[in-house]
Symmetry: none
Subunit: 229 residues, 4 copies
DNA sequence: GTGGTCTAGACCACG
DNA sequence: GTGGTCTAGACCACG
């Protein structure tokens, strides 16, 4: 007859309510939340509870706090997996090699997906990156372009989960394997080899050749990963 | 010449300090944090700031709050990627199909890694799961065992990042593609086919045959994924 | 175990950054700081924060604001200790006598240091001051020359900290013991005695006789301080 | 209580008014200033001006801002000369040796003043410090006690200007001649010598023997300063 | 002027 | 005793 009371914490309910409003479209990207004081009054809770809720939403990646400006629904969630993945990496005392394994694991099959779905815009972007890389021997620029190259393929997969994870992996590499990208492109012979491999990958993507994309990407990582093991 | 200023919030510094103490081993899994009031005094900040910090640590998955009990360092971080990945899924209005793509992308190459690194204990565990599946036609049990089967392979890869992501993916499927696993195993013909595929994967893993593992896993997903598209 | 959190305010970081640039030579004496609006943009903070920072730098004595002209790095810091020392004097409800004690304490041993390090230029300057004092019985001029006499000895010590403090002390005397210097030189007998004492000090300095300098200076203050007690 | 401000450099007038109220006792140590908003209203100026003024008062050492707490008149001004003296030290590119010279210059004659004015309480405190130093060979503790020893003598001089400057000098040494104090007391032979010297100084102070205090202190610094030149 | 950040202190519920 | 919640009030920062 009587149902057990579940003490749901106030801040959790606030989180749920705001989450819900984002999901169902009541709140859209870029929207400004009411001021904390107003929210507190509208929801009839204390500002401390509102603040705890906003802190949670911030960490989840939903909300962005700007002092003196207000709280906003985030425009992009592209990098929202980095923090938690980085956390796992450090807490589990994972080795840098595992980041590279993860990258390899994901990018090979992602290449197939990209080969299937890629559109002209992404293809062209990849073409341009390849051309840019031919023009310079600056290792910083080359490393940045190489990063962009892989980002574009992930993007071409049309899968935001894949894209998000690979973005996080990319930042992980920047953070925990400092200079990794630069090292390999600082050598001219390497740059030639990479250029060839990028070209192969591009051709497979262009031809929507899934098997070819997998093989080219595998070859690419066989070459690249040698440098860290 | 002039570098942008980054204003550091108090709660962020509290988070960083506790994070740091977990990383460097000062705080270990299962440890109890000092009471909020004590922490506030020791760090010379208000309790509200302590609470915002703990809220962040809780969402990140580092800390667990038990009312009346205290705040504890989490024992396990195995599922800490689910929340953020789920968030991305919903906010980016991703389709269930993308979850399946992500799973396929990751598991195929993970099979190769597992084939290389798998030890007897994981092999045996997989063997047992296969045998268990032969014994029952209960779809709930079968679905659970199938989940366990894939978990074990991820575990055998020896890569905690991969394991964590696949765990998150697994929960995503449970949450957003309800009944997915059960549907496929409710049919006897399917159970036979799956048994054959699991056997093939097992053999490849046992023989440390990377290419074989990839092919077997690919075949497996070609079959499975048909059911959702 | 837990370290106190120090919340860093934005303006403090701005102060630190500009301080640092002055220390390491990026900004030199006389340099003009960028316009407040530009600074605000470059540092990505509000103009209010910039203004608070500049206010601090002004009080510290690093920066000089010229209405309509801009903010400049100060050319000289010789008098930058007066304000704070004066502050202490007033807030601690210190007595004028303490200023004189401080002067005595410092100048006696400073004479020894000066005796060790004095160069021809300072020696000559002191010589000239002594001669000037002989030429006039105007108490204003005499007081000014007497002040200059002690300044030169402090300068001869080659120690900028000592010089700065004694400068501040000198201004303190002007401010809080009005007419002190004039009173003593308004009497001819005194002027004779002072002339003798200055001569003795000069000779000790010229001979690099540290003990002699101390003794002469002590004698000088034994005579001078009588007038205020 | 507060009078409206008229014109020109608003923040300066605010500073002057508050300064004045501190000087004449309207505002006392530990008093809380009205909230910024109230001050702004009472003085009929903008809050930005109030904030700039408070920033100045903070740097001067008159006021302490506690976020969320309010602005308070400082209880103690003992360390308010450190910042400006440190500034002079760095900007004039002074050498660490000059800090030591300044210390020597001041402490020798300060000993004489202390010998004249010291009371039983300070004498006893010095006695205790000496006894404490005999009990331990820990260099950190010894260094701290040595610092305290000199602080007490400065305090015994009864001259707050001297005390303030020596405090600043003491912090300067801690900041810019790291490990200076520890180095000398890490050697047992040195600790013995220092103990003897401290004893001599103590006896001179106890007997109100000014010349003896100067000589003992001079001997002390002849010994100590050898370690840095 | 608006809004975020922080503090101090109080009461409640749980263990 | 400890986390959960709330309040009132103040500084901090931005536009």
């Amino acid at each position: 007859m009587f149902k057990p009371i579940k003490s749901t914490k106030v801040y959790e309910q606030v989180v749920e309510q705001i989450k819900g409003m984002i999901m169902d479209g009541t709140l859209k990207k870029g929207d400004k939340l009411p001021a904390e004081r107003d929210l507190a009054e509208q929801l009839q809770v204390s500002r401390a509870s509102i603040r705890e809720a906003i802190r949670v939403l911030e960490v989840i990646g939903l909300v962005e706090s700007r002092q003196g400006g207000g709280n906003f629904i985030r425009e992009s969630f592209e990098n929202s997996l980095f923090e938690p993945l980085s956390m796992v990496f450090m807490l589990e005392k994972s080795k840098p090699q595992e980041i590279l394994e993860l990258r390899r694991i994901m990018e090979i099959e992602t290449a197939a997906l990209a080969a299937r779905k890629i559109n002209d815009k992404d293809l062209e972007a990849i073409r341009e990156i390849i051309e840019e890389m031919k023009k310079t021997d600056d290792e910083i620029i080359n490393a940045a372009l190489d990063k962009e190259f892989h980002y574009r393929i992930a993007h071409a997969s049309g899968n935001v989960l894949v894209l998000n994870i690979l973005n996080a992996v990319s930042i992980l590499i920047d953070e925990f394997i400092k200079g990794a990208r630069e090292m390999i492109v600082s050598n001219e012979e390497n740059r030639h080899r990479l250029a060839e491999q990028h070209e192969e990958i591009y051709i497979a993507l262009k031809n929507h050749n899934q098997k070819g994309a997998i093989d080219a990407m595998k070859k690419h990582f066989d070459f690249v990963d040698k440098y860290y093991y």
